[in-house]
Subunit: 196 residues, 4 copies
């Protein structure tokens, strides 16, 4: 069995269990059982319960960043780039519902209980948006008075809140892709230079 095998099995089990019960209600033994390893084995790969969450967070956000950057590589239109980002973000939910729920939780909780933890991976992820906006402003597509730092947060927040609703609702009205497009549409209209 490869070394990374157990590590990955535990991470995946943790995602499942954290998503189901939340971080605090999840027991180590739950994760161990889900991963089909002994409780003690978890501590060969992680320092403690928090460490599982943090590692998981950084690893998974890291993968997401790589993926979206790859998707954006061949696109130059900043309007289209926003759409690609949004659709990719929302479609994560379809592929990795549990992961998204854990990341959402973690995002609100981690800074509460681990003061010293600085969430650089997350910042890297949303900075993709401000980069797009900045580029759009330089190319004259986007209004100059719009603040990229505000847009990135607002755009992420809008997508995130929408995905939260989506994962909770039993029978969503729209597809995830439609939803992503609608939010993108609002932001595109919201920041684009009017051709009047």
């Amino acid at each position: 069995m490869r070394v990374s095998d157990k590590h990955q099995k535990i991470t995946q089990a943790a995602v499942k269990v954290f998503a189901r019960k939340g971080f605090f209600n999840a027991r180590i033994s739950d994760i161990a059982k889900e991963a089909k390893v002994a409780d003690g084995t978890i501590y060969l790969y992680f320092n403690n319960k928090y460490d599982i969450l943090i590692s998981l967070f950084e690893d998974e956000i890291g993968k997401i960043i790589l993926k979206v950057k790859l998707l954006l590589e061949n696109e130059t239109d900043p309007l289209k780039m926003l759409e690609i980002y949004a659709i990719h973000h929302m479609s994560l939910l379809q592929d990795q519902k549990d992961l998204v729920e854990v990341l959402q939780m973690e995002l609100r909780q981690s800074n509460k209980f681990i003061k010293e933890y600085r969430n650089t991976k997350f910042i890297e992820y949303i900075d993709i948006v401000s980069d797009i906006v900045h580029k759009g402003q330089q190319s004259g597509h986007f209004r100059q008075e719009v603040m990229p730092g505000v847009v990135k947060r607002a755009f992420f927040g809008a997508l995130d809140e929408m995905s939260r609703l989506w994962s909770l609702s039993a029978k969503p009205k729209y597809t995830l892709e439609d939803t992503a497009r609608q939010i993108t549409d609002i932001f595109q209209h919201g920041i684009v230079v009017r051709n009047s």
Copy 2:
């Protein structure tokens, strides 16, 4: 001593303690000490620890709804109404920082640990936005193809994410009011009918 007196003291203490430590790390005895009552006294007013959080959430959101509805009463321009909503939402952070932090956490957590809890108060709060959008569409101010149900989530998400950032950052670049205006500006441009 009025009955509500102890209840309120405990609620306020809970807001403080939950904001400081998070729900799970907060101890009942912390709240009791902060409220200057005995541990057991809390159980005369609340069924259990979760109940404090839920009650707190509903009570406080209720007050916020009342306040913002009052502010919107004399305004008819849907563009201005969005701004009023946004500014009021963000300014909560100034007046009740602890409360905002607790509400943000609770929003992401409660559905994890209390499956049966349906967050009707929160829905009522964001429905104010969809009402504004709907009204704006009827009056011809807003584009018909925009979905009010999407806008309400996106608008709330954008404001909420921005306020999360704000409460975390040591020295924010902009004032809360400016931030509210910038986000409102994006959404106003995003959904308004173009006068071309």
Copy 3:
């Protein structure tokens, strides 16, 4: 129930359990069961497992010191004082066998695992001997070249080792009092000025 009641019950239970199993093999639940309280109750009176041992040690040594000082109060002959000290020390074993065993263990162990703990109570106890020796030297009873600081350690060590043997052996040859007298005899002869 008096506050001190539970504290004392736990201390006495701890003495019993520590003596039976040793500190490390003793479980908190053993002590709790012996004291007929809940496991958690112990933590209302002691900070942790070590704290039980330390508190116990200091409290009980404190009592022993008081007792022996009282016994020595009306005696002026330093030779007799040594005997009183020795007999009292050895007779502890009869009255409080468990306690003696715990103290003996603790004496060898505590300084190993709690580096910062300075055993002032114990020093106070053996300093009684060096005081006697010093007084005996001033009154011309004891040889000047004898070091009180060495005698106190040697005397205590001799008594302690003898009592260790005693508590282990199934059928001791001599009575405790006889043993105390024999050791005292050696030391008396060992340090007294010869009347030649």
Copy 4:
């Protein structure tokens, strides 16, 4: 690599680790690391953790016995023999500080956690003293009324306690040899027949 090689490496490592942390706080992995072998290897040479301690104890005491018997071989004066024994005992501290600390601990603890263990090696070691005393009584050097079985314990106890102090104190007042001599002096005076 000779069989005994690993055995010895582990024993020496165990002495170091037990002295540093005490038996219960020492981990098998600590010993393994110190001995530069794998954890599992230890179990090829010892049955369990306790077995390491017991083996170590018997082996090392055995060596000490051999050494002191050799030193005493050519001496016939019982007074001098006591001094040789004392000086050798105390000087162990200089050469094998860790070992002495472990033996001291073990002496007080082993009978607590391994009921069936009878410490014959230790008895053999202190019986050297009672043999000296007995011989001294037969040759008329020592008082007849002194009990060899008491002297051996008292003498060992005095030396042991003194060495315990010595290994704890940062800056001892006297040299180990002086201390040994002082204690011997007290016992010599204590049991010798007076030439009056």
